[in-house]
C-alpha cells in the first residue's frame, strides 16, 4: 500500500477528484439540463392533463405541480452548486448514499491513524494517477459494449428464445469485462442460461420465451 500513501484517506464511500479542465469539472451541467428537461416535461404533462369533471381540489394535478416546482428548484440549486464547486467529479465505485464528511466526524477519523480502506476503484485509480487525470475517467468503450449487449439481448429475445439469448448476453458481458477465455466462457454461458431456465422456468413456473428452439425441442 506504499504507493497509496500520498492519497488522502478516504472511507471508500466517496471519491472526489479535482479535475483540472473547466469542462470536466462542469460536465455535471448535463445533469442539470436533464433535471430541467424532466421538470419541463412534467409541467407540460400537468398542464395538458385531462382531468375528469368534478374532481375536488387536491386533484390529480396537485402533487405533480408540487413535484414540478421542486424539480425546477433543485435543478437551479444544482446548477449553482456545480458552478461554484466544480471539482466534485465523482469516480467512485460505491453508490454515494452517505456524506463522507459526516462519517469522518462521527468516527473521529483522522488522516494519519486510520489505514486506508481501498475499493475496486482504487486499483483503477492508482496506475492512472501517475499518467495524469485524462485516463482516470470513464471507460466509455466497455460501457457502450455493455449497453449494446443488453439492447441486442432485448431485441433477439422473442425470436431466438431465452436459452440462446441469455447465454449470448452472459458471454458478451464476460468478454467486455475482460475475460481472457472466450471459448470456455461459451460453455459457462450455456450452463448458466440452462440452469436459470430449469430453476426458474420449470421450478418456479416463470414463462420464458422458447424462441425457435421451442419448435425443435
Amino acid at each position: 500500500m506504499t504507493t497509496n500513501d500520498s492519497h488522502p484517506m478516504t472511507t471508500g464511500t466517496i471519491r472526489v477528484q479535482r479535475m483540472p479542465r473547466w469542462f470536466t469539472g462542469r460536465s455535471e451541467l448535463f445533469v442539470v439540463a436533464g433535471v430541467l428537461i424532466l421538470a419541463t416535461w412534467m409541467l407540460i404533462g400537468t398542464v395538458t392533463m385531462e382531468v375528469p369533471d368534478g374532481a375536488a381540489f387536491p386533484g390529480p394535478q396537485f402533487f405533480p405541480t408540487l413535484v414540478c416546482v421542486f424539480l425546477y428548484a433543485v435543478g437551479i440549486a444544482l446548477a449553482i452548486e456545480v458552478l461554484r464547486t466544480p471539482q466534485r467529479q465523482h469516480v467512485g465505485d460505491d453508490p454515494v448514499e452517505i456524506s463522507d464528511e459526516m462519517l469522518r466526524d462521527l468516527g473521529s477519523i483522522d488522516a494519519t491513524s486510520e489505514i486506508r480502506v481501498v475499493s475496486p476503484e482504487d486499483y483503477a485509480a492508482t496506475p492512472t494517477d501517475a499518467a495524469g487525470s485524462a485516463a482516470s475517467g470513464s471507460d466509455h468503450k466497455t460501457v457502450l459494449i455493455t449497453i449494446a449487449g443488453f439492447a441486442g439481448f432485448i431485441v433477439v429475445l422473442p425470436f431466438v428464445g431465452w436459452l440462446i439469448s441469455a447465454a449470448a448476453l452472459f458471454w458478451v458481458i464476460a468478454w467486455a469485462f475482460g475475460s481472457k477465455r472466450p471459448l470456455m466462457d461459451i460453455a459457462i454461458a450455456v450452463i448458466i442460461s440452462s440452469v436459470v431456465q430449469l430453476a426458474f422456468g420449470a421450478g418456479l413456473g416463470l414463462s420464458l420465451p422458447a424462441g425457435f428452439l421451442g419448435g425443435i425441442l
Binding site: 412534467m42 452517505i98 480502506v117 475496486p120 476503484e121 470513464s138 466509455h140 452472459f170 458481458i173
Partner: protein
C-alpha cells in the same frame, strides 16, 4: 405479554420445513452477497423480488429478511481479509478488522464480527417484539396528516441529512417522485404522464425501477472502470480459532453492548441504514481506547474496534425491521426494497399490518431469531469457506447479475418493453453514480411517494383545502420541528466542512 404468545405461534409457523428452507436459502444468499464486494442486500432483494411471485408471501418475506441480516453478517469478511469492505456498512469494521488480519488474527476478527452481528441483531429483535404492541397503538392516533409528516421526515432525512450534498440528495428525491407519478391516478382515474401509451397505464413497475437502478446501473458502472482496475489484492488467509477466550470476551462484550446501543435507535430513523451508527460505534471505541491507553487500537488492531461497529450494524437491521413493519417507514435502501415487496403482495406495512396480517408478521419476527442463529452457525466456523467466494472472477459475477436481472424484469409481465425501460433507468443509474447522486432517495421517493400523495390529498380533502391541517396535531408539529433541527445541524456541518475545504484550497494555491 400478549406478544410472547403471538411470537410462539410465529415460531410454530417458522419451524415448518418449507419456511426453514427459505430461511436457509436467504441466509446463504445474504451472506454471499455480503461477502462479495459491490453487491448489496438491496440489490439481492430487488433481483429476487420478481422471481418469487409464485411463492407464498410468508416464505418470501422470511427469505428477504434473512438476506437483509445475512448481508450484514457477510460484509465484514472481505473488509477484514482484503481491506475492501463488501458494503459501506462494513467500512468502520474494516479499519481495525484488517489490522487484526495483518497481525495474524484474521480468524479472531471474523469470529468477533459474526458474534457481534448475532448479539446486535438479537437484542434489537427482542426490543422490536417487546415494543410491537406500543407501535401498533400508534395506529389509533395516526391520521393522514401524521402519515404525511412521517413520509416527509423520511424523504428529507434520507436525502438532505445524510447525503454528501443536500442538493444532490434532493435531485435524486425529485427523480424518484417523477418516476412514481407515471400511470393512472388511483383517486380520479386520470392518466398522468403516460403519453397516451397503454404500456404506462399501470405506471412504471417498481421492479423495473429498482432492478434498473441497482443492478443494471451497477453493472454499467462497474463496466466503466473494471478493465482499468488491477484486480483484487491479496486475501489474508484466516488461521486459528474464531472463538473468543474469556479475556477477549471481557474486552469485546462491553463493545458489543455499546455498539448495539448505537444501532438500535438509528435503525428506526431514516438515515440510510447502518453507516452512521457503525461509524459512531467505531469513534466511541477509538476514544475509549485512547482513554485507557490501549496500545493495540490503531496498530495491531483491537477486538473492540471490530465488536462495536459489527454489533451496531446488525442492531440497525433489527430495529429497521420494527420501523418497517410497525410504521411503514423504510430506513435504508434494503428496507425500502422490503416495502416494495410488501406492496407487490398487496400489503402496506404500517400499524395496521399487525392486525390485518398477524399471521405473516409474527412468523416473520420469529424467523428473524432463527435466521440469526442459522447465520451464526454458517458464519462463525465457516468464514474461511465464504472467503473463497472472493476468488470468483468478477466478469462472471457481473455477467451472471445481468442475466438474472433480465430474467427478473421479464418475469413481471413477459414483455420486452419493461426490459427497455429498465435499460434506460440503468443508464440513468450509471449517470447518477458518476455524478455522486445518491440512489436511496430515488427508491424511497418511488416507493413512498404514491403513499405520501394519497395521504396529503386525503388530509387536504378533509380540511377542504386548508393547509394548516398538516400541522394541526402535536405529533406532526413534533415531527416537523425534529426535522428542522436535524436539517439545521446538517447544514451547519456541511458549511463547516466547506469553509475548511476553501481554506485548504487557498493554502494549496499559496504553496504552488
Amino acid at each position: 405479554m400478549d406478544q410472547l404468545g403471538h411470537l410462539m405461534e410465529g415460531f410454530a409457523v417458522a419451524f415448518t420445513p418449507q419456511n426453514l428452507l427459505f430461511l436457509v436459502i436467504g441466509a446463504v444468499l445474504g451472506t454471499a452477497v455480503g461477502v462479495l464486494p459491490g453487491l448489496g442486500s438491496a440489490m439481492a432483494v430487488a433481483l429476487l423480488l420478481p422471481v418469487t411471485f409464485s411463492l407464498d408471501p410468508t416464505g418470501a418475506f422470511i427469505m428477504f429478511a434473512s438476506i437483509y441480516f445475512g448481508g450484514l453478517f457477510g460484509d465484514s469478511t472481505s473488509g477484514i481479509l482484503l481491506n475492501t469492505p463488501g458494503n459501506s456498512s462494513a467500512i468502520a469494521t474494516t479499519f481495525e478488522g484488517h489490522r487484526m488480519a495483518k497481525d495474524g488474527r484474521a480468524a479472531k476478527a471474523l469470529g468477533t464480527s459474526a458474534i457481534g452481528a448475532f448479539i446486535g441483531g438479537t437484542i434489537a429483535c427482542i426490543l422490536v417484539v417487546f415494543f410491537a404492541p406500543a407501535i401498533v397503538q400508534l395506529a389509533t392516533i395516526f391520521g393522514p396528516a401524521e402519515y404525511f409528516a412521517l413520509a416527509v421526515f423520511a424523504f428529507v432525512a434520507i436525502s438532505a441529512v445524510v447525503a454528501d450534498s443536500i442538493v444532490r440528495g434532493l435531485v435524486s428525491l425529485g427523480l424518484g417522485f417523477a418516476l412514481a407519478l407515471v400511470g393512472i391516478d388511483g383517486m380520479t382515474g386520470t392518466e398522468r404522464f403516460t403519453a397516451g401509451s397503454p404500456v404506462l397505464f399501470d405506471g412504471i413497475s417498481i421492479i423495473v425501477i429498482t432492478v434498473g437502478l441497482l443492478a443494471l446501473g451497477e453493472v454499467l458502472h462497474v463496466g466503466s472502470y473494471i478493465r482499468r482496475s488491477g484486480g483484487p489484492g491479496a486475501v489474508v488467509a484466516p488461521k486459528g480459532s474464531p472463538m473468543l477466550n474469556a479475556r477477549e470476551w471481557r474486552q469485546a462484550l462491553p463493545a458489543f453492548l455499546r455498539g448495539t446501543a448505537f444501532g438500535v435507535p438509528f435503525g428506526a430513523i431514516p438515515v440510510g441504514g447502518s453507516e452512521v451508527p457503525t461509524f459512531l460505534a467505531y469513534g466511541t471505541e477509538k476514544r475509549l481506547a485512547k482513554r485507557r491507553n490501549d496500545p493495540d487500537f490503531g496498530t495491531r488492531g483491537a477486538i473492540q474496534g471490530v465488536a462495536g461497529p459489527e454489533a451496531a450494524g446488525n442492531a440497525t437491521a433489527g430495529s429497521a425491521m420494527g420501523a418497517l413493519l410497525g410504521l411503514g417507514i423504510p430506513t435504508s435502501a434494503t428496507a425500502a426494497m422490503m416495502i416494495a415487496a410488501f406492496q407487490q403482495y398487496g400489503m402496506q406495512p404500517g400499524p395496521l399490518l399487525f392486525e390485518r396480517s398477524g399471521d405473516l408478521v409474527w412468523p416473520l419476527l420469529a424467523s428473524l431469531f432463527l435466521g440469526l442463529i442459522i447465520l451464526l452457525i454458517i458464519n462463525l466456523p465457516f468464514a474461511a469457506v465464504w472467503a473463497k467466494l472472493l476468488l470468483i472472477p468478477r466478469h462472471y459475477l457481473y455477467a451472471g447479475i445481468s442475466v438474472v436481472a433480465m430474467l427478473g424484469i421479464y418475469a413481471i409481465a413477459s414483455r420486452t418493453v419493461d426490459l427497455w425501460m429498465a435499460l434506460g433507468i440503468g443508464v440513468v443509474g450509471l449517470i447518477m453514480r458518476r455524478f455522486a447522486l445518491p440512489l436511496a432517495p430515488v427508491l424511497i421517493a418511488a416507493i413512498l411517494g404514491p403513499l405520501a400523495e394519497t395521504q396529503l390529498r386525503r388530509a387536504l380533502a378533509v380540511s377542504e383545502g386548508d393547509p394548516t391541517i398538516l400541522v394541526s396535531s402535536p405529533i406532526t408539529v413534533v415531527l416537523y420541528l425534529l426535522l428542522a433541527v436535524v436539517v439545521g445541524v446538517s447544514v451547519l456541518q456541511h458549511t463547516r466542512h466547506t469553509v475548511k475545504r476553501r481554506k485548504t484550497d487557498k493554502a494549496d494555491a499559496l504553496v504552488r
